[in-house]
């Protein structure tokens, strides 16, 4: 009887212990479920072959990625050693101590000169210009555009376009052209539409879409160092940008009120739109004939310039950080050290990852690897990002509550919308004691 009890107790103990992994030669990286995570797993397999350290990339659906990651952080969980987190998380994750401070690592390993400057600025540094770094740029990403080459090069279309607008039909270089072309191809009777844009308001899609107009119009979200927003997010440039974004929505396919990366890619595959906005990370599916019947006829261009000649795109992408509560921080650092080596970065790009390594990005080999890599290369030096303060999600909610009804529901004027947004943001910053 005693033996049985002992066995039971031991078994229970083991069972309870098994909740936490204590194996040193294993690392777990957490990311969202998508192709780049699979590429990272393949890269990590090479690391295992070289060092014997097993690295597992664990994934969760995109829609739940933030929830899952922060629930784990907030409970100081050690399930993940490394995390490939969104740039907006930097403020929340660094201020609360969830991320390990990588400033020394960045300096010792010369990350600043290895990676493209914009990527270090947005994926690693917080607060802005503080010289404190929390992650290593891993997956560069920004918004670009895909378009239907066959529609653009159809002689009849080209002729009609020229007659109507007085210049040649070609991938747009300005937002004015983009809007003309969207209007030109908007033909509801033929079930063809002008343009596919982001509208989903469940998280950051609406913001990421609108930012492309805002930044290229020379507008800003606010002053990132003083947190002043009034007079900036509702400036005449910002109002003009919102007017333009609303106009684009009127040329979008029907039912475009909840669209993000999936819907925008479908606009191309299902012959719905002439042009479609999307993150570069989702373009591989568009050049694959198995997933896009129009693969051969799909072209790409960088986010066009605004009326003042400014040209910026909304940033996507992620850096990789070490989780403070990991029990394998040393091993995690070793992995990062390996990851930033030039050879590894080349391999990462070869596997399909969007490297942030300046050397690899600039190489002709990379720029010619796919039809969109050139546009990606150009864009990555002209990106801007959303607020990265810990309360960024409240700022997103306010933006969704104000901008969504304006774009999709056509409510109010752009000035009213952005004035209201400026007031909301001001109140949020005041609540957290930022700015004056």
């Amino acid at each position: 009887m005693r033996k049985l009890t002992k066995g039971l107790v031991a078994g229970l103990g083991l069972f309870l212990l098994s909740g936490t992994s204590v194996l040193a030669q294993e690392l777990t990286i957490f990311w969202a479920e998508w192709d780049p995570a699979n590429y990272l797993q393949e890269l990590a397999n090479e690391y295992e072959a070289q060092t014997g350290v097993k690295v597992t990339v664990e994934t969760t659906p995109w829609a739940d990625f933030q929830t899952k990651a922060f629930t784990e952080f907030n409970a100081h969980g050690s399930a993940y050693d490394l995390i490939v987190g969104d740039s907006q998380w930097l403020g929340a994750a660094s201020e609360a101590g969830h991320y390990v401070d990588l400033t020394d690592f960045v300096k010792e390993n010369d990350v600043l000169s290895k990676m493209a400057p914009a990527t270090v600025k947005f994926y690693s540094e917080y607060p802005g210009n503080s010289g404190k770094y929390w992650s290593i740029p891993m997956e560069g990403d920004a918004v670009g555009w895909s378009y239907r080459k066959d529609w653009f090069t159809d002689p009849k279309e080209m002729e009609a376009f020229k007659a109507k607008y007085g210049y040649d039909l070609a991938p747009p270089t300005t937002w004015a052209q983009l809007t003309d072309i969207a209007e030109f191809f908007y033909r509801p009777d033929a079930k063809r539409y002008g343009v596919a844009i982001y509208t989903d308001n469940s998280y950051d899609a609406m913001a990421m879409g609108f930012e492309n107009a805002l930044f290229s119009y020379g507008g800003e979200l606010g002053d990132m160092s003083t947190y002043k927003v009034d007079g900036i997010i509702n400036s005449p440039k910002a109002v003009a940008a919102l007017d333009n974004y609303k106009k684009l929505y009127s040329f979008a396919p029907p039912g475009w009120g909840k669209s993000f990366f999936v819907e925008d890619n479908q606009a191309i595959t299902e012959n719905l739109a002439a042009m479609s906005m999307n993150y570069f990370a989702f373009f591989p599916a568009l050049i694959n004939p198995a997933s896009n019947p129009n693969a051969a006829n799909t072209g790409f261009f960088a986010n066009p310039a605004g009326p003042g000649g400014d040209q910026f795109a909304a940033l996507g992408g992620q850096g990789i950080s070490v989780v403070s509560y990991s029990e394998n921080k040393e091993e995690a650092m070793k992995f990062l050290k390996w990851f930033i080596q030039d050879d590894t970065q080349k391999e990462w790009a070869k596997l399909g990852g969007y490297t942030c390594s300046a050397a690899v990005l600039e190489s002709p080999e990379f720029r010619n690897a796919t039809p969109y890599n050139e546009a990606f290369y150009q864009t990555m030096f002209k990106v801007k990002d959303f607020w990265a303060v810990p309360e960024y999600a409240e700022l997103l909610t306010a933006l969704n509550q104000r901008v969504y009804p304006a774009v999709v529901g056509g409510e109010g004027t752009s000035q009213e919308t952005l004035d209201a947004l400026a007031a909301d943001w001001k109140a949020i910053f005041a609540k957290y004691g930022r700015g004056g």
């Binding site: 699979n38 591989p284 599916a285 198995a290 399909g352």
Partner: protein, 318 residues
Amino acid sequence: MGTVTSAQQKLGNRLANVMIVVALIVFLAPIYWIGSTAFKPRNLATTVPPTILFTPEVSPFVKLFTKRVQLKPNEKVDYDNAPWWEKIVIDGGERISRSGKGEVQLSGYPSRFLNSLIVAITSTFLAVAMGTITAYGFSRFKVAGEEDWLFFILSTRMLPPVVVAIPMFLMYRAVGLNDTHIGLIILYTAFNVSFAVWLMKGFIDEIPREYEEAALVDGYTRMEAFWKIVLPEAATGIAATAVFCFITAWNEYAFALIMTNRKAQTAPPFIPSQVGSGLPDWTVIASGTALFLLPVAIFTFLLRNHLLRGMSFGAIRK
């Protein structure tokens, strides 16, 4: 109107049959669409009009069970030496991801499916068992503050899971229950037991006490009367409760997502994750959904006679 002639009855029956057929079509059309998409080639998945006739493929299932990455332009794969199931994947513009040692990497689906089975079956059994005895206790004996206790039991299901999730997660982590099967089983049992108590009380209340009292007179103990008289009479209720509890536990999403990592993950969060790569492969989502529907459907079908027998003895009311 009172006396219904047989001709009228026949017409009524026929009308009812027609309506049932209509209901079947409405309720099953989306399911049929899911089921057929599970066997379609990818390019036929979202066609309008829907493709009815096609050569069924198993490729969605091969994709469902493996980890894949898209083929890059000019990427070389050893097509000729690939086994048939890998050829299907390559034909679909993807290749199967392999570990450093060259082993085929499985997707999360098979292990998650197994976890779902373990968790759902065990928690359903526990919830129904606890629900039945507790309902019997409330139905047959005097409990001080009975209505308040019953309302308390009901109220445990009212809080939106979103709110309970954070404290629950902290609690689980403190006692080491996160990412374990036991943890999910306890959670789902707690979640379902309130439903089971209420539903079973509804059913047991309908069973006349006279049945048990007669048995007690015949020399049964109370416990024997419960086992041999009440339980069989409550079979319909037990079957219905079990079906509902199983469905709830089988499909639970929010807690499954937050409370588990690698060891005890269940399948529901896996299926939506398939939209991640820019263009969802609806055939894979459909095959994952269809396969996941199968255990519940079989479970329900096996219990159908109990479900339909109803409370056959009829209610004798006071």
